[in-house]
Amino acid sequence: MVGYEQDFEKISEKLEKEAKADEIEVRIIKSDTALTRYANSQIHQNIGQEDLDVSIRAVFSNKTGAASTNSLELDSLKRCLSKAEKIAKYQEGDPDFKGLPKPKEQKNVKENYVKDTAKFTPDKRAQKVKEIIEMAGNEGIDRVYGAFKTESQSLFVANSNGVKKFSRFTSSNLTTTAIADWDKDQGFGWGETCSADVKDIDHIEVGRTAIEKGLNNLNTEKIELGEYDVVLEPLAVQSILMYMDMMGFSAKKVQEERSFMKGKFGEQIMDERVNIYDDVSDPDMIGYPFDYEGVPKERVDIIKNGVANEVVYDSYTAGREDDKESTGHALPMPSPMSPLAMNLLMDTGDYSQEEMVEETDKGILVTRFNYCRPVHPVKGILTGLTRDGTWLIEDGEIRHPLKNLRFTQNLIEAFNNIEGIGEKRKLFAMGYYPAYFAAPALKINDFNFTGTTEF
């Protein structure tokens, strides 16, 4: 047990004694984030942040109120509890709310905490960034960009029904954009890696990938718009998974008829080789083993052999259905976004990325997508643009770089048009939440490009 876990326990015990509510929940998130950003081959932003958030949910019958503070001063905590109780009392009650979760056996106790990551110094981050900058300079690229982040997060959740959970994890993430010939043509390349253990961050590999792509991305050409076979690298696939998650994998979206999964359970909606699941216990994954209500996270097989199988639940959405339990996917409550799958993985296949290219007569290789947004969430239509390296494939070979393209595509149709699934997958940090997705490369036929840009 780490020192502050005991502190958090004392706080929750104190608040439980003070509480007048029928049930209370105390959730404490503690974070320490350090991030070194570089641009134009200079470190231009370099930060260290530490914060915590104490959130209290008070429940009177089926009425809940919530308040939060980032102070551990006793007065602040008492004020926070009092506000949560006051807010709860004002309400008329929600018949769908069935109470705070009860304790449940925690089968997966994996903790992704690596002390070396938590203690990684700004000097060490700066040194690795400097080596990327020097490597790029030696290759004739005097402008590289990116960020090197190391962070640790802890989550404590306790409620008056006996739930008491604590876990922590670390994460390190390095990105590099290399821009060759900044003043004129601008060739873009991207590299990225992510791990709980900072020693796994191969900064030379990330830098080399970005540099090679940047150098090979000069003199881009336009291409006629229309449907093309595409080879999507893992980061591009990760973007698609993220939007599928937001548009369809939550019980709330299904209950409110806002999910493309609604009415499709048991039906084959994608290629039979597609398996998408949420599983924090996977060895590749980073995250807490329980959700923000303290419910153990279960593996949820969302798309199984291409069939719409199940979605993720928190305690509230589970309470709305008969014989349903939370799968452990609550966000910090109350949240209009909850529940959400935050540890998504897609099963690998048997294609190497090279084989996907070799077996393409005419197609497009995509490094990653930019600024994707749903056009019609329930139909699964998404738009976005390619970014940081797009190439034309002809007769099984990468011919030349292309100007970035806009796609407007029904994702469900796209996942029905899968020709090949990559044999490896990569883990990516999602940025906004402590969410991590692992995706393989995909070859998809007839992907619809509807616009182009000037670079």
Binding site: G3, Y4, T33, A34, T36, A39, N40, S41, I43, H44, Q45, N46, I47, G48, Q49, E50, D51, L52, A66, S71, L72, A84, I87, Y90, Q91, E92, G93, D94, T121, P122, D123, R125, A126, V129, R143, Y145, A147, K149, T175, T177, E256, E257, R258, P334, P336, N370, V375, H376, P377, I381, L385, R387, N404, R406, T408, N448, T450, T453, E454, F455
Partner: protein, 496 residues
């Protein structure tokens, strides 16, 4: 090993007074042998009320206090903490300096453009403190709104919300600037999701994603009159299910202010951020086609297009007295008579390019580093009326209510979709259409702007969710505009 700063025993006995801590912090910074330093200490209170389908989805009150310290000590360093003790301040200064010295491994000398030194205070003008309005009153009102939307079984989700923010902020720099600000922001809105089992649509008022927001008091929320608009908005949501699909092709489009605000945001606000133009967001948010060599040379729009950055605009969500590096708020021309004339610039960026410091450095809370962020990016009013614009449009679509938005990382190719469209034929609105989308290239689009309505129809909208930076920061910004027309734009994108 105890928690690194949040030692329970210390905290349970209480922290220091915010103002005293602030004074202590700047005294400590001034003692250090550094090129530059500033401290920004703030306390932020928020209140959120979300009502959905007749029940409370969320009522949450939060408070957050802490400080961020920025230093130049060989390179840039920034550290932030919620440890409100003198020991915490000292430790955070030490951390910021250590980070700055690490930055010096790969940093050129940093120059900040000189600015006036101020000792001043600023308070948002408001009539009613939203935090002093009884919670029951706000909740009762939202419940009435919810009930008013409950008109059809095809309405699967009814939602309405109220939001308020109150920030107390202190800023001091080692150059002598001392600023104290009290900022209040308020807003809310409503929306429905409708479904007939075949199709699904959404409709909102006064805009998507929680409505509209201003730097004003509770009076702003009252003046939105969302109760009055609840039934008609819900009905139009239902009507959208049976509306015709947006046609494909090229035609004139008219953007209502709620959508035009986002068009200004994405295609003028972001590309005129100097940090993007200089490449410092290249790996995340992206760069800009509006590079310094194009300043005063690029025809961005038609000669009726005038766009400004104006943090002094009354009531704007991006309105303040001073930015987060102590620069006084001021109005700056970005686009003048259609020409690209100015940037949103920090002191560091302005020194590099030799341009004006715009007073646009803003941080998301105390925890984050200030970045160049939009304030109120406003399209100045023209001399038409919306009625005249419609009457003089032979074939076109009016777009209303943000639904989908996407733009490339240099801010050139964009595609937007709105909740509703209205077909205009022969100078008249003839029918409602669904899933309307339009796409274009930024400068071609603005060059095709041939009509802007006047100040009577000019509205200053608030966009509360602008993302930028690593770690990601969310900023509240304003956009003033009046309905405008754009000629020969591609509409109806994609297969439906």
């Amino acid at each position: 090993m105890r928690a690194n700063i949040f030692i329970l025993e210390r905290c349970l006995y209480g922290g220091a007074n915010m103002r005293e801590l602030f004074e202590f912090g700047i005294d400590e910074l001034e003692k250090k042998d550094i090129q530059y330093g500033d401290i920004r200490l703030s306390e932020i209170n928020t209140e959120v009320i979300n009502v959905k389908n007749g029940t409370v989805e969320a009522i949450k009150s939060s408070e957050s206090k802490g400080y961020g310290i920025r230093v130049i000590d060989g390179g840039w360093g920034f550290a932030s903490s919620a440890d409100l003790t003198e020991q915490g301040i000292k430790k955070t200064i030490k951390r910021a300096r250590k980070i700055a010295r690490a930055s010096s491994k790969a940093s050129e000398p940093i120059e900040l453009k000189e600015v006036d030194i101020h000792q001043d205070s600023y308070t948002t003008p408001y009539k009613k403190d939203p935090f002093k309005i009884d919670l029951e009153e706000k909740l009762d009102y939202l419940m009435d709104v919810d009930e008013r939307m409950d008109i059809d079984e095809k309405i699967k989700v009814r939602k309405c919300n109220f939001n308020a923010w109150k920030t107390k902020k202190f800023f001091a720099s080692t150059e002598g600037t001392r600023i104290e600000q009290d900022l209040i922001k308020t807003g809310g809105g409503l929306g429905v999701n409708v479904s007939d089992g075949e199709d699904t649509q959404t409709r909102s008022y006064p805009n998507s994603f929680g409505g509209d927001y201003n730097s004003r008091g509770y009076e702003f929320f009252e003046n939105l009159e969302i109760l009055k608009h609840a039934e008609e908005t819900a009905q139009e949501g239902v009507d959208l299910l049976d509306a015709e699909q947006c046609p494909e092709g090229e035609m004139d489009i008219i953007l209502n202010t709620n959508q035009l605000a986002l068009q200004v945001h994405e295609s003028c606000g972001h590309p005129t951020e100097l940090d993007r133009a200089l490449g410092t967001e290249a790996s995340y948010a992206g760069t800009s086609f509006m590079t310094p060599d194009k300043l005063n040379d690029l025809r961005y729009g038609s000669d009726i297009v005038n766009i400004v950055s104006d943090p002094t605009a009354e009531g704007g969500l991006g309105t303040f007295g001073y930015d987060d590096e102590g620069v006084k708020a001021k109005k700056v021309d970005l686009i003048k008579d259609g020409m690209f004339e100015g940037y949103q610039a920090s002191r560091e960026g302005a020194a590099k390019v030799g341009t004006e410091v715009s007073g646009s450095m803003r941080a998301d809370g105390w925890k984050n580093l200030p970045l160049v962020r939009m304030t109120n990016i406003n399209l100045e009013p023209g001399d038409w009326s919306k009625k005249e614009i419609i009457e003089e449009t032979d074939k076109g679509i009016i777009f209303d209510g943000i639904k989908s938005w996407s733009i490339d990382d240099k801010r050139l190719n964009f595609q937007f979709g709105t909740e509703a469209g209205y077909l205009v034929e022969g100078g008249e609105v003839t029918k409602l259409i669904k899933n309307p989308t339009y796409t274009g290239i930024t400068y071609e689009f603005w060059r095709n702007c041939d009509a802007i309505a006047g100040k009577e129809e000019w509205i200053l909208h608030g966009v509360p969710n602008c993302g930028k930076g690593e770690p990601p920061q969310t900023m509240q910004v304003g956009h003033g505009c009046a309905p405008s027309r754009f000629r020969d734009i591609r509409v109806g994108v994609g297969k439906w």
